[in-house]
Structure formats: structure tokens, C-alpha cells
Amino acid sequence: MSRYSVFSVLKGGLTGQKHWTRAWRDPKPQESYDAIVIGGGGHGLATAYYLAKLHGITRVAVLEKGYIGGGNTGRNTTIVRSNYMLEANSFFYEKSLQLWEGLSVDLNYNVMFSQRGVLNLAHSDAQLDAYARRGNAMRLNGVDAELLNRDQVRKYAPNLDFSDNARFPIAGGLLQARGGTARHDAVAWGFARGADRLGVDIIQNCEVIGFEIENGAVKGVQTSRGLIKSEKIGMAVAGHTSQVAALAGLKLPIESHVLQAFVSEPLKPFIDGVVTFGAGHFYISQSDKGGLVFGGDLDGYNSYAQRGNLPLIEHLGEEGMALIPAIGRIRMLRHWGGVMDMSMDGSPIIGKTPIKGLYLNGGWCYGGFKATPGSGWVFAHTIAKDEPHWINRDLNLERFRTGRMVDERGAGPIPNAH
């Protein structure tokens, strides 16, 4: 397996790029593994990678029912940020962001993480105050943040509506300059290749259909390709967490909702960083290919359909026009949906379950993509040590029972409100 570099690509240019081999193997499942990760999305692959790399557990299988990166990893709007207010989220997402910053080199795979900034717009002083609270907390936690006034926002994103015609004029915003976007598919592929090189078996088209549980401890999984044994099994199947957990008899504080995403025709540079609208729910960035990538609210009802409906699309059109009046003549090229694990406080769940050896990674709500390396990092730790890292300690499943919520929006146990 050749190392990726500009030289290997140049060399390939002389030989028709024929020297490349599979980025990851296509192994048959073995009878047993030291650890199994269910779900070949970014999180599952990252978990396997860090298990092998940092914890010396290399007899690991990643079981994917379809093709890797085919779920939310390949459906999101690729935003990476760590602009969280609450401690339980702040340190976790910041760890993740730091991993992102070195990920391409670490994986020897360019995940195209580009730190062009994430700007949350405020349209009133009260909203600016709320952002100040968050930004101050970020700064004191060691995360970068800047509060921008209207003129500074205009400098950062000149195409926004600064006219008198704006229904909710822009007052300012909170900028995290280290935030940005990454190439979503590449993250799955990079982790897959990295894990594979460390000996991890990535097994596609292998659906988990049941768990082997004895005396409250997990012993293996039944799959569409037979029984595979392991005493450490991690679930990283966001979108379908309730379904897989139910196979182990677990009921969770999670609902599945559809979130739509959109991309426009490719354009020459139009908007630099990520901008979120504060008088609605709309976020937009531009991919390296030139497409404007945007999204907004959930459709609002439980769904596993991976596609949404027109009311939300109309809503996004209104919000897009309210934010960037020049967007009217740009055309939307494609829209699709992903299935979100919406947890009851809007924050993820990464930790142990009541079943020994079975670990849960889910409830990602909107936040899954940006968390990918951090999630894998702490989940690998949790699986390897059978206890959470301090960074994910508060993101446990028990918090719902004890009332120690991690509720960034303060919306309460209403999944579609987060």
C-alpha cells in the first residue's frame, strides 16, 4: 500500500496512475475480534483507527451494513467548529477540532479541512449578549472566539444583506476563526485507510441483526454474514441508534428526525467561511468545488426516510434570501436528507451502557460530523479502558436520569427543538 504524497501522484502520472491499490482491504469477517465497532461511518472508522493506533487493539472489525461513509458522514454540510458554551461540550468539541487540525497529516490523507471560520450572526443586542456569554465561555475554556460588530461582519461576509430592506438587520456575530469545513467523504475514506493499515478489518455489506448477551455482558453480534464474537462492542450508528440498541434490549432517549441539506451549482468564490443566520435557522458555506452548501431546521417529525419535504425547502429559500439577497439567481442543484439521532438534550451520548462490554456512541443531533475525530478518540478510550475519558465523562447516558443535562439551547426534552 503506497504512501500518499505529491511525489507518488507525480510518479503515477508517468505510469497511468496504475500503481494504486485498494485504499482499504475487503476482508472476510473472522470468527472473533478483540473489539467490534458497529457502523462504518466516520465515527465508527475513527474509533477503530484510534483503538488500533493509541490503544494497541488491532484485532478490530468495523461492521457496515452498506458502504462506508454512506450515512450521515456523506450527507452533512461539512461544518467543523467547537463554539460550544457548556463545559461538557466545549472540551470535547475542542479536542475534536484540535484533532482535525492535524488529521490530514496523521492519516496521510487530505481531508481538506479548511479553517475559513464559522460566523454566527446576531440580529439584536439580546442575541449578541447570548453570543457574548458563549464566546466568553469559549475563550476561558481555551477556544478561540471573537465578537464582531456589524462592520466587521460586513468585512467578513460582504454578500449578506446590509441594506435597509432586511427584516432583521445584522447586529454583529460570533466568529470562530478556527472553524471551517472539511471534505466529508474523505474523512470516512481517510480513517478507513488509516485503520486498515493498522490491521483493522473493514467489513462492508455486513448488517448487525442481533447481539449475543450472556449474564448482562455482550459476547458477540449476529450479522447478515454470521456470528462474530467479541466482548467489546461499540455502536456508532447515529440515525439508527434506537434500532440497533433495541437489538440489545436498550431503550434510549433518542428520536430519529430527518435533516435536509442542499447544494447549489458550482460558482466561483462567493462566500468564504461558514455563516449562520440568526433570525431563523440557516447555515451556508461554499465547497471547494464551488457549490454553496446550505441547510436549516429539521423537517420536524420522526423519520428514517433520508429525504425531506417542501415546507422546509420553502422555508430555507426564504431564509437564504433574507440572509443573502444575491442568492436568488443562484440555482439549487440537489437536495437530500439524513437521519439525525436527536437526543433529549441536544447533546451526544458517548459512554457505557447497562450491558457490560457494550458501548454507545449516538445522539449526535446536528453535531456529528465535526465531532468525528474527537468522537472516535474518546470512544476508543472508553472501549479500551472500559471507562470514559474525562472529556466525555459528562456525555453519559445516565445524565438524563440524574438531571445533569447538557442542553446548549435550553430547549428541554423536545428532540426536534434542538
Binding site: 500518499y4 501522484v9 465561555a137 444583506d161 420553502e314 426564504e318 439549487m332 440537489r334
Partner: protein, 997 residues
Amino acid sequence: MSAQPNRLGGFGHINRSKPIKFSFDGKSYTGFEGDTLASALMANDVKLVARSFKYHRPRGIFSAGAEEPNALVALREGARQEPNTRATVAELYDGLVAHSQNRWPNLKYDTQAVNQLIARFIPAGFYYKTFMGPFSSTKLWMIFEGFIRKAAGMGTASGLTDPDRYERSQAHCDVMVIGAGPAGLSAALTAAETGARVVLVDENPVLGGRLRQERMEIDGKPAYDWAMATAAALQAMPNVRILTRTTAFGYYDDNLIGCIEKVADHFPVPPDNLPRQRWWKIRAKQVVLATGALEQPLVFGNNDRPGIMLAGAVRAYINDFGVLPGRRAVIFTNNDDAYRTALDLLAAGASVQAIVDARSAPESDLIQAVRAKGVEILMGHAVTNTHGHFALQSVEVMPLVGGSPREISCDLLAISGGWQPALHLSSQTGAKAVWNPESCCFLPGPPKRAERSAGASAGQFSLYACLSEGHVRGVEAAVAAGFKSKKSWTIPTVAIEKPARTEALWEAPDSGGHPKKFVDHQDDVSSDDVRLAHREGFVSVEHLKRYTTLGMGTDQGKTSNITGLAIMASLRGEPIQAVGTTTFRPPYTPIAIGAMGGSEVGQHYRPRRRTPMQDWHLERAGEMLPAGMWERPRHYPAHKGETLREAYIRETAQTRRSAGICDVTTLGKIDVQGPDAAEFLNRLYANGFAKLPVGKARYGLMLREDGYVYDDGTTSRLAENHFVMTTTTANAVPVMAKMEYYLQVVWPDLKVKIVSVTEQYAAIAVAGPNSRKIMQKIVDLDISNEAFPFMGCAPCMTAGVPSRLFRISFSGELAFEINVPSDYGQYIWDALLEAGKEFDMVPYGLEALGNMRIEKGHVAGSELDGRTTAEDLGLGKMLSKQKDFIGKALAYREGFVADPRKKLVGLVPVDGKSSLPNGSQIIEKADTRPPVKMLGHVTANGFSPELNSPMALALLEGGLTREGDIVIVASPLKGLSIPAKVTNPVFVDPEGKRLHA
């Protein structure tokens, strides 16, 4: 060069009496009404129109429709500029201006064409393998990325506000027919004849579909005549609505079809009375998909040069637009259909140098007819390479088995890889496409919704099948929608054809030199890229698409997806069905985001809620602040130049000294009536309401089911069975919905009716020591402290208006709130102003309102943030121990009671001067080097004239146990670290004497 050198006499449906001037890349041309930009450019012999995405290869016009991958232009200029417009669907209008894009300095000399020279070094996904290092940071990558971003993209957005209007419309129908070719026209006609309400949509300006583009006969006359006659018949039927220039872009749940009608895109500027585009939502009981088929290209060396065109498109340009795409043509095909192109070219006076047919020995009438014209037919051959830079000059042709290449000179290569039904809408319903090896295409899967496909979109490619299937499906749809098929139908007479079988040829062999063979023209994905993807394990169709960007262009792979996946299937050694298609995502063709937004733009983005006194505020307020959809006055400057700070401090001081008046209409008001009203409120609120006497108001605290504080407000008992409740402005709507939920779902046995009366009443607060004197002037009630004590409420007449008076206070002063019917709001406001004149009563805005509540330590939105408990807010005692209420069961969980929780305190700056900005975090020491443990945060701050000091409310770990401590109020965002003393949150009148005065 003569004007329109390629225009054909005697062909086409363009209106030659209406010449139209247009320009492309600054050069002026003339076309005719009925032209597209593509047909007009072709008429003027413009062959080079675009550059490709990655290699900047010269490209011409490839198709005659929505599937166009190459001929993308920037249409119009200035604020109306539309990047990436397909010239093949842009209708020509007078003065049309278009520019080529993605080239510099111009189309002919494009510096980035250098990418062709380094193509071998930038295969699919090269960026994943490069630009990573050497350091563990994103810096180096971002430098490269800057170049990539500039090089990528196609067109340029203007960055200017779109000046045009969009609107939305809805329709319901029994049968919706999508596509008005032979099948769609037939289906619409038969469905309509049953009496069903029919909507027929077609993306083109004129009905007829391929009948406009082919030389065929129906009932012995040109098929075009039949199409026009049928269109006219449909037009005349009252139960039929025809929407032309309307693209059905998506098939959504419950047979809702999203459509875009291009109302005015064929005008230079939309007429005043018309929107640019209309967004339709059409709900159909039954749908007939007659969306036709898309001709697929063939993959061979240098298959992208200007002059290489789909065979069906060649016929369209000749027959519909009267344009000859080339004079010396070669045709390369794997099916019979392209033979029609030979006949049409011959009829138009062009020469056909050869037909290169990949099939070994097909035979049919059509082939015979072409052979009879003396055209050379090379069976079992393929085109393997082409020559010419800005225009095609020759092709290399080689037998598929044995033999050596031969060069044929030509200026047009018409290609056909067979036709693929346009399955987009069918597939969006969840119907899984089925591969049909007979006709080498995917057919629609078994329907999942009330839809059926007819004609070419169902793989029925002959004219006879289109007409007959259209008839059958139209009747079938109408019957399914509940109508009766009334008579026997006669299918028009057409020639029955027996074409020879199509044989797949996914990729032609090389004749040496290994030229690029493009699968996806727009994104420059070659068959080598597909092989690279396979080699590296990206073998699932979704991985193939994502890794190579195959089918990701503005055409969404309409002419590339099938070929790409077929090549992958052969590499995998699996049948095409097993490999499957990628998901067909809406929209069918790209849609303007402006159309998505409809007319809800600018000031109309959201409705604006107005209180009855809004105009008065607008005249006098220094600023209006948004409060949801409401807007509220922030302050009322006494004179020009008075700052916000000066104004709100003055308003606060004057209210506390004498009197102030404030519009509080926006608070939610819910009328609660019925014998069980008291019981209902008693369950809803955490504190008791069962025993609230008539004529009394009470402050109520509501919890969420999870035990956190939800909302607060005063609720008054007007009569035994009649309460009026107030909520916060923000929660007025959700609280109402929640109350309805409990009444309808959980406690339907409770006899209570509720109604929101927020907008029925204007609410005005008058506060301050003189408020009684002012109020007494205009109410007919004795409001002395004895007769109308604190928390009293009563109906009364105010200046002759029936109203309700409440003695409640948010400011902490002696205060009254009066509710009057909205229509009288301004009248009573004026009356109160008049009454208050002698006391120098001031109007006060949101800022003073907030300032006074901070002085009193009253909680509001920034403390009720969904994460605070009653105990946190110092309201723990309100949670009744005597009764059960919503939220009680979960309000005493471990996390609610265990310290450290952040609790409400007051803060004053140690220096007595510095303000304590909202959103500041509270820390122990002045050292802000991270990570710093945060003890709490400032929720609200103001300036108390009575203390003559800034003050703030905060949530702080330990709460009042820290009273007297000095903490640091830190705002690293603003570079501030201010020592502050922890105090009781009630700064003014802690005993509450003024309230009871």
C-alpha cells in the same frame, strides 16, 4: 460570413418573421423567435461555447435539452446575471446577452487549459493524496486550497440583490400529466375526456415534446400537426390546465409535485405584472409520468470535441429549429434510432460520411432505408478517436474485432448510446429502477405511489407505443381517481416499426495513444478515472460518484451516470442490476433559490406584529427592538442627542420619582374559563391557584415536564370560573399549545375552555408613586389602597371603555396594568398620557423596563433560559408541597439539588462605575489564561439611579452564600476583567413597601 449560415430553409418551427438580436461574448448575432440560445449560436456557426470544469477543454453544444453538460453560459448581466445557464434551454429574447465562463482571459485562449497538459498528474481524487503536510496544521493545504477554489466553480454570481419577484401557487387535480410529448398529450387527452381535472406540465415553451423534433407521421400527416391539434383540443377543455415552461422538479409525499414555472425568463426583464418564476405545489390524486427519455452518449477517445453531439439533438436542431449542425457528418451508434439522424441530415442537404454501428449485423427497415440512400454503414465498428481542436475535423474508426483504424473527415459526429428513460421522478417515490438488458436501460420500478409511467419514460420508445400507452395510462389514472372511462378510444394511425436490438457498448477500444475518454463531460471524469476508482476500492456506485465526482455537475449525470456505472459493473464483473444506480435526488433540473423563497423576502421575510400603539412608538422611539415577530420601543429620547443610556436612566428615575407608562401588549394573554379552570391552573402552575380569590392576581411559575422552569406570569381570577393568564412574550404560543394538549389529550375530563386573547387586548402599564392619581382620573373604580390593594384586579370602565384593571408591578413601584380592547388601545394610551401630564409621566421603553426589573431582581428571559431550576432563581419556595403539578416528579432529581448549581445573585462593580456587560463570565481571579474555571455568568445588567451605580443580575455557583464576596466579571471578548461584589439580587426596595403603597 453571412447571417445565420447554418439556418435551413423549409425546416423548423421558429418564427422567421421575428428576427432577434443577441450577443455572445460581446459579439452580436441574430436568431429567430422560437430559438434557444444554443440553436441560435449554432445557426451562426458558433461551435466553441464553453470550457470544461477541470481540464478547460474546448466544448460545444452537446444536446438540445435539459441534459446539457457542456454549453453552460452566464446569461444576462448585472444583478440579473444567471451563471451556469444551459444554452440549450435558454429561450432567445431580444437583446439577450450571454458570456462564456470559467476561462481567462477568453474562451479561445484560456490559460487554465494548461491543466490538459498536466492531466495525467491530476487524476480523480488527486487532492486526497496531496497537499497534506509537512506540518501538522492546515496552513499549507489552505494555500493550495485558495488556488483550487479560484480554479473551481463554473460561473460567477453577481453578488447583487436579485431585482425580480417570485411567487408561489398551489393546485389540486385528479390527474397530473408530466411531459407533453406523444405519450403525455395522449394521456392528458384521454384523462380529460373522462371529466377528470387534469394538469399537464411541460418544461418547454410549446407542447409536443419529441414530435417537434422528429420527422414522423400520425394519421398520415406530420406528427407535429397532431401535437398542435391535440394541444389545441386540450387548451379548449375547461377541466384542463396547461402549464408550459414548467418543470416538475420533484415528487414529494402524498403525490405532491413541486414545479417551477418560468413565467418571464423569456423576456429581457419581467413585465411589471409578472413574477420571474412561479413555484407550484400541485397535489394530484393520480400522476402520469410521461417525462420521456434521455439519449445516452458513447465513450471513446476525445469524445468531447465541439461538433460531437447526441444524434437525437441533431434531429432536434434540424427539425425544430431549422439549423444544420454540420455538413459532413459521421454517425456513431449502437441502436437503430440514430439512423433517423442520417435520413434527416440527408434531407437537410448534409452529407453522411458513414454510419459507424457497434453492432455486428443488425437489420431493420430503417437500416435498409439508410443503406438505400447510399450511406456507408460500418457494422461492428467503433469511433476510437477524434481530431480537431475548437471544431471537429475528423474521426478515427476501427473494427471492434481486428483491423486497423481509418480516418474519416467530418465536421459533425452524431452519437447515440441508446435512450434512458427519465426516471428521476419515479425514482424519487422510492420505486427502485430495474435494469432491462433488452433495451440496455433502466426502467421504472413497480410504483410506490399513485403514479404510472407512459411512453419513453416507461421504455416504450416507438411512436405507436407512446401514443397507445399514453392513452391507456391516461384512462387508467382517471379511473383510479374515480372517473369512468366513457367510450372506446381510437389510437391514431402510425407506422409500426421493428427496430433491431440495441447492443451495449459502454466504452470503445483504443486505437493507440490512449486519449481521454470522457464519461462525464462537465466534470471531466474519464473512463480511466472510473478504473482508478475501481482499483482503489471505490466500487460502490455511491463511492464511485463521490470519489470521481461522476454525475455531480449541473446536469447531475443525465448523460453520464448510466455509462459510468455500467463501466464499473464490467470492472466488478457483476451485472448492472447488482451494481444499481445512485439515488436520483431532486430537483430534476436546478432551480433558482429565489423561487424557493417565493415572495417572503426582504421586509416580508416574516410578518411584523404590531401593538395598537405601534405608530406612536415608531414616531418617538429611539430604536425599535425585535421581540420575536413583534417590535418594541427601546427608549424614547427626550431630545435629539440624548443617548440610549441617558434616556433609559432618565426614564427609570422619572418612573420611580413620579410615573411612567409602558406598552406591555406583547405579553401572552390566555383566557381560561370553566368550572374546572382553577383546578387546571393548579395543575399547570407550580404554586397554588385553587384558592386564589375572585378579584385577585397571582404570580405563577410554570415548570416543564422535566422539572426546569418554563414560564412565568401573573394570572388573575376575574370570576369564579374565569381567569386571565399572562405568559412571557416569547412563550405565548407554546404555552397555549401546551395547555391545549393537556386539556384535549391528558385531562379531557376537565371542563375548561381556553382562548388566546393576546391580540384582542392592548395592555398598558402605569408605574410610579403617582400612578394611582393618574389612573384614578380615568377609571370608574375606587382604586385606593384599601379598595384595590396590591394584586387586586377588577373589570371597570376607563374613559368610557370597558376594560380590566390589575394592580400588578414589574417595576417594583406602585403600578397598574390596564387591558382594553385593542381598537381602543391608542385612545386609552392618549388618555393616560393626558392624565399623566401634570405629573411629568414619561413613556418608558424596553431598556428602562429591563433596568427596573433588574433593580428588583425579577427574573426574565435571560434567566429563564431552559436550564435553570426554581431554586436557582430563588423561587424554590414556590414549588408547592401541598399539591401535584406538572414537572414536580422530576424537579427533585440528583442533578437539581446537588451543588454546585448556579443561583441568582446581584453584582455591583467594586469601583462603582464599570458596567458589567451581559454575557460576561464570572471567575475567581483576574487571571483569564485558559482554562479558567467559570463560576457563573452575568445575565442582565443596568444602571440604578437610586444606587447611582451599575448593577447586574448573575447566576453564580453558591448563590447568596457568596454574598459580599468579590468576584471577577470577565469578558475576554471585550478584554474586560472587572472586580464586582456579590449582593442580594433585589437592589431597590427589598421590603416591597412601594408595591403596597
